[in-house]
């Protein structure tokens, strides 16, 4: 079975514990979800390049399971910063508030159907708050990231995206997880998963 790529959700450097927030999507994640307490798993990592440290006034935009790396990023700073946590519907906002209780972090929730928080998409939410933002950090479905890219480019705000792609080796050898960028195909596993918004090409 091929290994599966996941973002780090939480890491405790004191206890050495690592938390992953995994969306059960297919067979691999299904099997992972069924492993019981105490099961031994193989893990290779950390791999690739992460986000830069967010400056004060940053907007963190999470779409659905894209919350995982952004929760980890939110924990890495204590400057004033805002998390826009978005999903299609309330049941997809799975991250408990207790996990996002960091000093200086404000949280705004939104759902496409208005079942929790504001009603609207991540792009709607961002558009109203982009003015005066220092930088944008985003992870979520590709259409969401494409919209976020447009908004940031127009507003002249620097943005970074953590991308997802199907992977095999995870270390940069097999070239399986290619993403189109202004500099040609790059490897999500090694050159990324974090890329600057302007280099990612979404309309393949």
């Amino acid at each position: 079975m091929l290994p599966r790529p996941f973002s780090i959700y939480r890491a405790d450097s004191v206890t050495g514990e690592l938390d992953l927030l995994i969306e059960i999507k297919g067979k691999g994640t299904g099997l992972l979800a069924k492993t019981g307490t105490g099961a031994a798993l193989e893990l290779l990592g950390p791999l690739g390049k992460g986000f830069p440290v967010p400056p004060a006034g940053s907007l963190l935009v999470a779409g659905g399971a894209g919350i995982a790396p952004l929760a980890f990023l939110a924990a890495s700073a204590d400057v004033p910063r805002t998390l826009l946590y978005c999903a299609q519907t309330a049941s997809r906002l799975v991250c408990p508030h207790a996990d996002l209780d960091f000093p200086g972090l404000s949280i705004i929730e939104a759902t496409d159907d208005g079942s929790r928080g504001e009603m609207g998409t991540a792009a709607d939410l961002l558009l109203n708050r982009i003015e005066g933002a220092e930088a944008v950090f985003a992870c979520g479905p590709r259409p969401m990231l494409a919209a976020v890219k447009e908004i940031c480019l127009q507003a002249g705000i620097k943005a970074w995206f953590s991308l997802e792609e199907r992977m095999a080796c995870g270390i940069g050898a097999c070239l399986g997880c290619a993403v189109a960028t202004t500099g040609g195909y790059k490897r999500v596993c090694r050159d990324g998963p974090v890329f600057s918004a302007e280099e990612v090409i979404f309309d393949e």
Partner: protein, 317 residues
């Protein structure tokens, strides 16, 4: 020469078309890239040789994503032979590979006979390259690739042209997507190949029913991994029947028993590809298993069992 720690008389070394390998386990071309990443994970330990990812005359961009997906007992890929081209390979990748230790074979790709010959010519006389593997079997590039490996006349043309450019040991990597592998293997042998390498991936596809479109960006891809082992084994057996030159067997090898099966079907050496994704330290586990088997069976060199299953079958035993 015995590796340290081996019982006195067990010797894993094999001679593959004039390339002296310390052991019969190679890294197959493709999954291993140019080795840099797997070297960091210690995968070079216990590798007899590395067949580097396909090198073309000019850089190739590769296919749009998605390029890979898992399937039952294997995976489907359509990377499309993305590579930085001959010049970059020689300048950037070769020097560090050369110092790494294992024997080095370069997988050669092209869209035309001239391109294949051009790469072979550019590699001729370069220090540190022990052999060439001519890739006439990649299902993921539209021009060339598999087209040369599915027609004996085309096979003969491209092997003849490359043979003219190189004195290096020349293996020809065959496609399983043919009616009779023996015909293609013989065409390669008659055109001057020193060895046959097989199999490349089996052509296939998947459809994403949610999106109602092919899952891979390239539509079609190549199936690899344990799923294809029985097919690969049969084709090694058939190729061994068809030619006298040595065979490098591959296709879904993930254990010492898999490797032994290929050797018993007629392979001189074997290569591991997709298996690296499951287990970066796979070569070491295979080598340990081979030694254990040889000890138990009282075998001193692998030549004692190369093709033995075929030989016994022929003798009606």
């Amino acid at each position: 020469m015995n590796e340290p720690g081996l019982p006195m008389d067990i010797n894993l070394a094999v001679n593959l078309c004039g390339i002296k390998l310390d052991n019969p386990i190679l890294a197959a071309s493709g999954p291993f890239g140019y080795g840099h990443e797997y070297r960091e994970l210690g995968s070079f330990k216990d590798l007899g040789g590395i067949i580097v990812k396909g090198v073309s005359l000019e850089p190739w961009e590769g296919n749009p994503s998605p390029r890979v997906t898992e399937v039952s007992s294997g995976m489907l890929n359509a990377v499309g032979l993305q590579n930085p081209g001959l010049k970059d390979f020689l300048e950037y990748h070769l020097p560090s590979l050369r110092e790494a230790g294992p024997r080095l074979l370069v997988n050669v790709v092209g869209c035309t006979v001239e391109e294949y010959a051009g790469v072979a010519s550019g590699l001729a006389g370069v220090e540190g390259i022990d052999g060439l593997e001519l890739n006439i079997s990649c299902p993921n590039v539209k021009a060339g690739g598999m087209a040369f490996g599915t027609d004996p006349k085309a096979t003969s043309l491209v092997v003849t042209a490359v043979r003219r450019e190189t004195n290096l040991p020349l293996l020809v990597k065959l496609s399983p997507n043919v009616t009779d592998i023996g015909v293609i293997a013989r065409a390669a042998e008659e055109a001057g190949a020193d060895g046959i390498s097989l199999i490349n991936t089996l052509s296939g596809m998947l459809i994403d029913t949610g999106q109602k479109k092919p899952l891979l960006g390239n539509v079609f891809g190549g199936l690899s991994g344990p799923a294809i082992k029985p097919v690969a084994l049969k084709m090694v057996w058939q190729a061994a029947e068809a030619v006298k030159i040595p065979i490098l067997g591959m296709g879904g090898i993930v254990s010492a028993d898999d490797a032994l099966q290929f050797i018993m079907a007629g392979a001189r050496a074997v290569a591991v590809g997709t298996g690296f994704f499951y287990e970066p330290g796979l070569p070491s586990r295979i080598i340990a298993g081979l030694i254990e088997y040889m000890k138990e069976e009282g075998i001193y060199t692998l030549s004692e069992i190369e093709g033995i299953a075929r030989t016994l079958q022929e003798q009606g035993k």
